[in-house]
């Protein structure tokens, strides 16, 4: 991230602002999509975040903090979008609680992507940020404004559960 470009954006240069936002737009969109799992909603969340960022850019004190600051706004907008939708995603658990559910259907349903799609949005985001986008735990903690310990415990608790479910699926194949 070009610090000078961010400084110019903070001073009100619209073109510099556009340029810095475009540098992070892909990552912003992917995180938004990871959260919302809907293309239109994700683009709306990113655009709403662009608007808020442009109106509040003067509050950014550290130019090299721009990406983190912007991604935080994107995630907040995702939460707002989700509240608007009022959806609850909880299919995967119900599949496993039903002992009569045919094994072959579990095999068809589950891989990493499918499992992620059934997760709580924030839990899904944690996994995406670490294993897809390459964030460190500390970076995730700063961006999401959560203690590092919370990030770590949520992340690995979910990973453990996912591993169990995925290995159960693999077992079904081999079995």
């Amino acid at each position: 991230m070009d610090e000078l470009l961010v400084k110019k954006a903070v001073k009100g240069d619209k073109d510099s602002f556009s340029e810095v936002v475009l540098q992070v737009k892909d990552e912003a969109y992917r995180l938004a999509y990871c959260y919302l799992h809907n293309e239109e909603d994700s683009m709306d969340a990113v655009c709403d975040a662009v608007e808020k960022a442009l109106l509040n850019i003067k509050t950014l004190r550290e130019p090299n903090f721009f990406k983190t600051w912007f991604i935080r706004i994107v995630i907040n907008e995702c939460k707002i979008q989700l509240r608007k939708r009022e959806k609850v995603i909880s299919l995967a658990d119900s599949l496993y609680k039903d002992e009569n559910y045919p094994t072959y259907k579990r095999e068809e349903k589950l891989d990493l992507e499918k499992l992620l799609s059934f997760m709580d949005p924030l839990d899904r985001l944690l996994i995406y940020m670490k294993y897809y986008a390459g964030y460190t735990l500390e970076e995730m903690s700063i961006t999401l404004d959560l203690p590092t310990g919370t990030v770590k415990s949520k992340l690995y608790r979910n990973l453990k559960e996912m591993k169990v479910k995925l290995e159960a699926k693999e077992g079904a194949y081999e079995g």
Binding site: G12, V21, E51, K163
Partner: protein, 464 residues
């Protein structure tokens, strides 16, 4: 220790799984740039509105006259010591002119309410004199309420009120429609202003009418289809007391004003109950035209200044102009003379008024108009936008004023501008947004261009 090993194992497990990359839509970039433009345009519009103060709720001007209309008041660079006469009134209900006339006892016509098929139309705040007829129109109904607030972005249905003044040869008017951005608003609102030709009202009144006759339609405009009429109100009659309609006082002026090579003649001053009007004509060398005065005003002998509110003026022909000022001195006989003043004039030239814009050129590019350099900073066709997709950003020199850009085949256009400077002391670029189909090249023409010639003048107009 055990936890660390477990975490490392989990890390390794997840990392070796197939991961599907999330595809970023191609249109995201265009949407982001559009958003940045809109926010900046809103910021500029806020500055613009803060300076004008009077017209904060107007979103659309419906032009049903064949004359060209200027409705933006000029920015006044007056010091606060100079008193500008104003009477506070909600723009939908009137202006300083109608407000003072009411205070002086000039009667409004009775308001009228018509209900049909679940729709209600109310015509109120009606004032009628030889110069103009003004009224507020409000439309109510469940179907109207469902369509509010209006977005005016061209993507959603837009309801509107359309009137016809049936007693006059030209039934059209100038309308200012309110675009409520508040979901609590229940009514569609229109402020309509009908101007009259010389002796038109006298001819009408000589027929001893008991009513003014109008018709109205509630229309729904939807993107990509023909407008639909929701309801027609065919025969609306507003009761009229002819004895209370006052005629204008007309003063012949015939004074020439020479500014540089431009000769402008103040032809007449018309003082009507709700407004004052100055008629001017111009005579310029071939290839040049008179665009406008800069900050025109009237001033009375006590130093009070009268300026336009809302409709600034009309151009009945290429060489004539009508300039409006409120409130009126109709009911105040104490003045021997008025002064017509201005800070300068704007002169346009035919040469260089039109130019080409290519979508494949690289920008910024320079062009010249009347010896001044204009920078075309950016040209973009935003395919992701339904409304006004062609965006042209111009850095205009302070000496040039341009109202808009005309392109053949365009359906509408808007112009975001401000007189303010950004934090670096640089003027904001003017953003022109035009609703036109994509073409690789456009023939563009400046609309009402003017080169500023400074020259503060005050011309006395004798009243007695």
């Amino acid at each position: 220790m055990k936890d660390d090993l477990e975490e490392q194992e989990l890390d390794r497990y997840i990392e070796q799984l197939d991961k599907k990359e999330i595809k970023v839509p191609l249109q995201l970039e265009a949407k982001i740039l559009d958003c940045v433009d809109r926010v900046n345009a809103r910021k500029r519009t806020s500055l613009h509105k803060a300076l004008t103060r009077t017209f904060t709720a107007v979103a659309v001007v419906l032009l049903l006259f064949t004359v060209s209309v200027k409705w933006l008041p000029n920015f006044a660079a007056y010091a606060s010591a100079i008193p500008v006469v104003r009477y506070a009134v909600d723009w939908i209900k009137g202006d300083s002119g109608t407000e003072l006339a009411k205070k002086q006892g000039y009667s409004e016509l009775a308001s009228v309410t018509i209900q049909q098929n679940g729709y209600k139309l109310v015509l109120d705040n009606i004032m009628f004199d030889e110069d103009r007829l003004v009224l507020s129109a409000y439309a109510y109904g469940e179907k109207i309420e469902e369509l509010l607030p209006i977005e005016l972005d061209g993507t959603k249905p837009e309801p509107s009120i359309s009137l016809k003044f049936l007693d006059f040869k030209e039934p059209g008017y100038i309308g200012l429609q309110h675009s409520p951005d508040d979901s609590k608003e229940k009514a569609l609102k229109l402020r309509a202003e009908k101007h009259f030709e010389e002796k038109e009202v006298r001819t009408f009144l000589s027929g001893q009418p008991e009513y003014l006759s109008l018709s109205a339609e509630l229309i729904l405009r939807t993107p990509d289809s023909d407008p639909k009429v929701l309801q027609t109100f065919k025969s609306i009659k507003i009761p009229l007391d002819r004895s209370k309609i006052l005629m204008s006082k007309i003063y012949e002026v015939k004074q020439n004003v020479q500014v540089d090579k431009a000769k402008i003649t103040l032809d007449s001053l018309t003082i009507s109950p709700t407004r004052m009007r100055v008629d001017v004509s111009s005579n310029l060398p071939e290839g040049f035209f008179f665009t406008n005065f800069v900050n025109p005003y009237l001033k009375d002998s006590k130093g009070n200044v009268y300026k336009p509110e809302g409709i600034v003026g009309t151009d009945p022909s290429e060489t004539t102009k009508r300039l409006f000022f409120v409130p009126s001195l109709y009911f105040d006989d104490s003045h021997d003379q008025l002064y017509f003043g201005f800070d300068g004039i704007l002169i346009g030239a035919e040469e260089g008024k039109a130019f080409k814009i290519s979508m494949t050129d690289t920008y910024p590019k320079k062009l010249s108009y009347m010896g001044e350099e204009i920078i075309i900073e950016k040209v973009r066709y935003n395919h992701a936008r339904d409304l006004d997709p062609l965006q042209i950003q111009l850095q205009l020199p302070r000496k040039l004023s341009i109202q808009g850009l005309d392109i053949e085949g365009s359906k509408r256009s808007s112009h975001g501008m401000t007189d303010s400077l950004d934090e670096n002391g640089k003027p904001f670029a003017d953003l022109f947004e035009i609703d036109v189909d994509y073409r690789p090249e456009y023939e563009v023409e400046f609309s009402f261009p003017g080169y500023l010639i400074n020259g503060k003048k005050e011309i006395p107009i004798k009243l007695k």
